[in-house]
Amino acid sequence: MSTTSLTTGPRWARLPRRHVPVLVTLALLLVMYGIGVSQYRAFSNVQVIFNVFIDNGFLLVVAVGMTFVILTGGIDLSVGSVVAMTAMVSAWLLESGLPALPVLIIALLIGPTLGFLMGCAIHFFDIQPFIVTLAGMFFARGMCTFISDSSIRITDGFWTTMAQYRIGDPRGNFVSVSVLIAFAVVLIAAYVLAYTRLGRNVYAIGGNPQSALLMGLPVGRTRIAVYTISGLCSAIGGILLSFYTLSGAPLIAVGMELDVIAAVVIGGTVLTGGSGYVFGTVLGVLVLGVIQTLITFDGSLNSWWTKIVIGGLLFAFILFQRLIGIRYK
């Protein structure tokens, strides 16, 4: 992974501090997977892991966008609604007879536009990201029901192909196209964060916005950019979700923003900004996915147990970050 940007070699003396959160998440993931394998024979099937990716590809993409926002010390509550709105708009436009390509382009423009506007409000009027993106969340959700108050099925050829196309190995294990798209987004994001000025400015702003300003970095532009990126990722996530469900529904992905934030934090990104990696976010999403899978395999547990476990983990991780932070000072 290109995210270990500044580490030249195996410098164990320093490695822990920056990488501890990610390593802990990795360890947690391995432990959970180990539990699954020891409890259920079918768990060791490679397809189980692939399914985690298939089921959570859209979540991963949205979480990547959220990672950018949280790295600057901000938050984006609108992502779930933007995902729903993108899926809804796509379904509605396809139903009205527009071909796939223009629908894709329009759908992919809506999210970043909203993100850009929210970023501008946050930067120029100096308003809390929490409030601005909360407003964005209500707006996007409202637009969903404005388009239709019931779900719209998608029958378009391109969409059904994307939903059904399997990329697999000879033994029958496969992933969907969405998973590849999600991986591409992850790789691009990791590159941007580690190797471009935009990415480095994101970290700098998260570290100390005041200093970043005095060091002459384009703080405002970067802030607006991260919300635009988050909007774009939500739009891509919305498209992937519509591939997955082959429909647009006004009440889909409700509360998804909270899952996404949980995944990013469990992946080791510090909520106050400045520290974290996209790779950690991938692990965070996998942790959520494996918890779901474990509970599904158990069969007797209520699916709300997923929420309870995630809640516990989230709390543990935030506490853990705090402790590391205190030692850091």
Binding site: S5, L6, T7, T8, R11, R14, R17, R18, Y191, Y195, T196, R197, R200, N201, Y203, A204, G206, G207, N208, Q210, S211, A212, L214, M215, G216, L217, G274, S275, Y328, K329
Partner: protein, 513 residues
């Protein structure tokens, strides 16, 4: 060295803010290869001059010439691009990023848009070697001491072909070894021909590093002097703005006898009390009925020392005994319980609540001491408030006007009354007479004498030496955040002696241990 032409010339600079003339017709020159100290008390206009130079503020009048060109920068970034870089008191770096990245962020060497990390690290090492600093450039900047961070900030500043390097109080949070390290770097840069503008409150440091001194006072230029022609005492005089003979001619007051109040257990005794970065360890005793004066220039650590007495800042070393019993002053609530009151220097920001009435402001500390669950009966309030309005002759004598409508002197009296109502055993007065008119000043001074005669201990902080000498039994002199002397206020002590002590720190005399 100074025979060449100046790299920077500021001529006839004036700058006003609403109601304040911050700079008036100030000239300033800076030569290549010199360390030039800009001196003056707080509010003399040093910061404004720097901000005008770097384009943070526009200029009302005057010109700035850099090299051969007349310049007017739009902001620090443009100034830095033109070779005028500033390193501020607060280290402005991103703590989470590596040393190398902090030096180069915003102008990293790139190839097709991708940051070349190898090149960043190599050039960072090269730059730090030039500053004689051997550290791991890939470690986060937060893992190093403030001094090293300061140097990383300097490295960032000089990377852009700096001709002028402005160091705005870079040493205020460094300890002695760290300062030495910084000075080594400064000398190195000076020898390379960079012009360094150095702002500090520490007199020793000026004489340790500077080649020339420019003194500002109240926004005007006092003068520019080669270091050899301006001894420390003369520098202090120029900063304060009073000639010694003027001070000597001040009316002699009857001395207050130290012996009369000393003896027995001191009310508060501290030994080796200190806080890193605020004030060096000091020892001091205050007896009931004693007035101890804290003298020293602004920024010499007087307020910092007083805050330790009140628990407003926590000491990180030393011992405190109150009434002979060891204790530690951890917070103001505890100090108030011991009967210690603190009248803040900054009455607007830290003391007076402008929208509350005179009565409410006065009752505040007493109510806090009683706890909010036991309200003070209205009759008792009226009684107390009336008593102190009369005693301090507060005008208008109406307890229900909002304090914001009172003059500065009367606000100060209300603040004083607030603490007096709690009947403290030690009252700390931090610049109680600053910015108030002569009449009110005299009244407050008279009151201090009365209070101490009544058995209250007072720690009296003032920049005005005459005032300190008139009121105090004992004068402790602060300088460069260190208590350099304690003088019994007897016939041998006068303003000149105290001023010499402030300037040199040499007449150390241990009084009253």
């Amino acid at each position: 060295m100074t025979d060449s032409r100046p790299v920077l010339t500021m001529t006839g600079i004036s700058k006003s803010f609403p109601g304040v003339r911050a700079l008036h017709n100030v000239d300033f020159r800076l030569f290549p290869g010199e360390v030039h100290a800009l001196m003056g008390e707080n509010g003399a206009g040093k910061s404004t001059l720097i901000k005008v130079l770097t384009g943070v503020y526009g200029i009302d009048e005057g010109t700035i010439t850099l090299g051969d060109e007349q310049v007017a920068f739009s902001g620090p970034m443009q100034a830095s691009a033109a070779g005028v870089s500033t390193v501020y008191q607060e280290v402005n770096l991103c703590p989470n990023l590596s040393v190398a990245e902090n030096i180069f962020i915003g102008r990293e060497p790139r190839l097709l848009g991708a940051v070349r990390w190898g090149e960043v690290r190599r050039r960072a090492r090269q730059l730090l070697t030039r500053l004689d600093l051997d550290i791991d450039v890939t470690a986060p900047v937060a893992s190093y001491s403030l001094a090293v961070q300061q140097m990383v900030a300097i490295a960032r500043a000089i990377d852009v072909q700096a001709r002028v390097l402005i160091l705005d109080e870079p040493t205020s949070s460094l300890d002695a070894t760290e300062v030495a390290q910084l000075f080594r770097v400064m000398r190195q840069l000076r020898d390379e021909g960079i012009a360094i503008l150095f702002v500090t409150h520490f007199l020793d440091q000026v004489y340790g590093i500077a080649d020339r001194i420019t003194v500002l006072r109240n926004g005007t230029l006092v003068g520019e002097y080669p270091i050899a022609e301006l001894p420390q005492l003369a520098l202090v005089e120029k900063m304060i703005g009073k000639e010694l003979d003027v001070l000597e001619r001040l009316e002699e007051q009857p001395r207050r006898e130290l012996a009369a109040v000393e003896g027995g257990t001191p009310f508060v005794a501290v030994s080796e009390l200190g806080r890193k970065g605020a004030v060096a360890p000091f020892s001091l005793t205050i007896h009931a009925g004693e007035v101890v004066g804290l003298a020293g220039l602004l920024g010499s650590g007087r307020t910092e020392a007083a805050r330790l007495f009140f628990g407003a800042d926590r000491a990180d070393r030393g011992e405190v005994t109150v009434n002979g019993k060891p204790t530690s002053l951890r917070n103001p609530v505890q100090a108030i319980e011991y009967g210690i009151g603190f009248c803040s220097e900054n009455r607007r920001a830290e003391g007076i609540i402008p929208d509350l009435s005179v009565r409410e402001n006065m009752i505040l500390a007493m109510q806090a001491a009683r706890g909010w669950l036991r309200p003070i009966p209205r009759r008792r309030q009226d009684e107390l408030v009336e008593q102190y309005i009369k005693a301090l002759s507060i005008r208008p004598a109406n307890p229900d006007v909002p304090v914001r409508n009172l003059s500065g002197g009367n606000q100060q009296k209300v603040l004083l009354a607030r603490w007096l109502i709690t009947e403290p055993r030690l009252l700390i007065l931090d610049e109680p007479t600053r910015g108030i008119d002569i009449g009110a000043k005299a009244e407050i001074q008279k009151l201090v004498v009365q209070l101490s005669d009544g058995g209250m201990a007072v720690l009296f902080i003032s920049a005005e030496l005459e005032e300190v000498l008139r009121l105090s039994h004992k004068v402790a002199v602060m300088r460069d955040r260190e208590m350099v002397a304690q003088l019994d206020n007897d016939d041998t002590v006068d303003a000149e002696r105290v001023m010499q002590t402030i300037a040199s720190g040499s007449t150390r005399k241990e009084a009253s241990q």
